[in-house]
Amino acid sequence: MSLEQAIRLLIIGIEVGSIYALVALSVVLLYRTSRVLNFGQGELALLACFLTFTLTSRMGVPLWLSFLAGLAASAVAAGAFYFFLMRRAKAQDPMGLLILTLGFSLFANGGLSLLFGVDNKQMPGFVDVIETWQIGNFSISKNSVLVAVAGLILMIGLYFFVQKSKIGLAMRAVSQNPEVAKALGIPVNVVLVSSWAVAAILGSAAALLLAPAISLNPSLMLDPLNKGFAAAVVGGMTSLPGAVLGGYLLGIIEAYVGNFVPAFKLALAFILVILVLVFRPHGLLGEKETRRA
């Protein structure tokens, strides 16, 4: 493998990895506060994509505005799903809640398919996907750079949100111990609704960044969501830095391995998951959850 090809694959790996990392962050953020794996994440992201597509391509709204509208819509939908359904469901064990999100996923996917159709749509992007920059005899896709940079900005933004803002502090408190947090006067419901909303925004941003490069249809998020879950597990379900690490690691390894053994690419993420879990059952950076019998 020439150096040029190695660098090209690295860039692809970072681009894909930042999508995985964003999805993994949304999975981990939600898991930390509410101990739920949300399989409906993909459909929340789809909602954002379809709304952005309809507003811009069909109604001529500026892209940045419909982008924000899409993010807002998925945040509201996620918050509402938690507030009206998850919170009130009688099945409050982790398994019941998991099935609830699976039901939501099936329901929302069916609904979105009916509303927007199952055909492939060309999602508008901020840059043309085929445009490249020339550096010497080396060309680099503008879209790859955009995705990588936007992903990085979102991750830094999330860091400041979780570490510096008051609601972020409350989120960390709830993730450590919901009962005590409640007793200390933290409005747990507000925290949970906002962590559902923030998780939806992260997942939707990943989808909105991904969609222009491939076509938009109801199964857009199927693969990225699977990989995001895998990345979250590799990094550790309770660790936000772990999610970022897992995402990039998975993206880069996938780029290199996929180049040599394409058939192997789909199952690779899960082989990595199993390898990591055998040696570190709580992920690379995750902490063992203490349990009292």
Binding site: Y31, L37, F39, L85, R88, A89, K90, A91, Q92, D93, P94, M95, G96, L98, I99, L100, L102, G103, F104, S105, L106, F107, A108, N109, G110, G111, S113, L114, N226, F229, A230, A232, V233, M237, A263, F264, L266, A267, A269, F270, I271, V273, I274, L277, V278, P281, H282, G283, A293
Partner: protein, 325 residues
């Protein structure tokens, strides 16, 4: 109320004359279905196949408390074992191979699963399901037919008599009856009780002498065998096995069966399989609406009745037993 005085009464599978009557009626109904409602023979056969998988998954998820999103993988192993081997070594031998293969693979998956719980186990098992699907899709075409899959000819397997759909229905009925009986038996045996003990209080079970590692891997193996037999019966029923049908969605459907039917009981798995199969059979006519409606039913069940259909049935039964109090 039935007052139990002896341990043997607690162990009994069928406790009362009404129970025996209900049991006989159920068997009679299933025997007569192809004769009375020939149109329903296929969905009912499918229901029986799925109920095996649901029972197996319930043994793992409901009894032992380990989640699996990868049962489509075991189902696929069973189906491919029959599709590939039955023309060569006859159907019963292929069924046996499916059982052994699933038991071994289930045991092997159970070993790393010992260290995992909750979301980690869910994702790892879903990965197992995906890996199996990719394995069957990407191995050379003359092994398992690649993406196109394998055709299963009933007449080739069973001769002309059993090749008829109606006759094959009775093969399924016989196998499923035996397996259901064994599941009820397992639930009341010391192993079944150890499963439940591990779920409810792992530490307490361990101090009482339950070998956690052995019980957990055994649960995985038994669960895999049930799913594998389901797959083995499924292959000739459908006539074709292809990797696309063993997706994560199928695993999700299996999980939704036990949740809708009732987690932690054998009867719950059967009820859930019936409900989901009936729902899909009816929704297939709804075209684009099927996903939406199916999701809606799952949502409604989870929001209103977390114990599932069987839980609701037990509540009604209890209400009438103690009526008017």
């Amino acid at each position: 109320m039935v007052l139990k005085e002896r341990y043997e009464q607690d162990l009994r599978l069928v406790g009362s004359p009404q129970g025996w009557a209900a049991f006989a009626l159920t068997i009679l109904l299933f025997v007569l279905i192809p004769q009375i409602f020939p149109a329903y023979a296929y969905p009912v056969a499918l229901f029986m196949v799925y109920s095996l998988v649901a029972i197996g998954l319930n043994i793992l998820v409901g009894f032992t408390g380990q989640i699996s999103l990868g049962h489509a993988g075991f189902f696929a192993i069973g189906a491919y074992a029959v599709a590939k081997l039955a023309p060569i070594i006859t159907f019963p031998a292929a069924l046996l191979v499916a059982v052994v293969a699933c038991a071994v693979v289930g045991y092997l998956v159970g070993i790393p699963a010992l260290k995992l719980e909750g979301p980690y186990l869910a994702i790892a098992t879903s990965g197992f399901g995906l890996a199996i699907q990719q394995f069957f899709a990407n191995t050379p075409n003359d092994w398992f037919g690649g993406h196109g899959g394998l055709i299963v000819e009933k007449s080739q397997l069973f001769g002309d008599f059993f090749a008829r759909d109606r006759a094959y229905y009775y093969i399924i009925l016989a196998v499923v009856t035996v397996m259901v009986y064994m599941a009820f038996n397992l639930a009341r045996s010391h192993i079944g009780r150890a499963f439940v003990a591990v779920r409810d209080a792992e530490l307490a079970a361990q101090t009482s002498g339950v070998n956690i590692a052995k019980i957990k891997t055994l649960a995985f193996a038994i669960s895999a065998v049930y799913a594998g037999i389901g797959g083995a019966l499924f292959a000739p029923l459908l006539g074709i096995v292809s990797p696309e049908s063993f997706s994560l969605l199928l695993s999700v459907q299996f999980l939704s069966m036990i949740v809708i039917g009732g987690i932690g009981t054998v009867a719950g798995g059967i009820l859930g399989a019936g409900m989901v199969t009936a729902l899909q059979d009816q929704l297939a006519q709804a075209g684009g609406w099927s996903g939406l409606l199916y999701g809606l039913v799952v949502l409604i069940v989870m929001i209103l009745e977390p114990l599932g259909l069987y839980g609701r049935w037990m509540k009604i039964k209890l209400y009438w037993k103690s009526w008017p109090f």
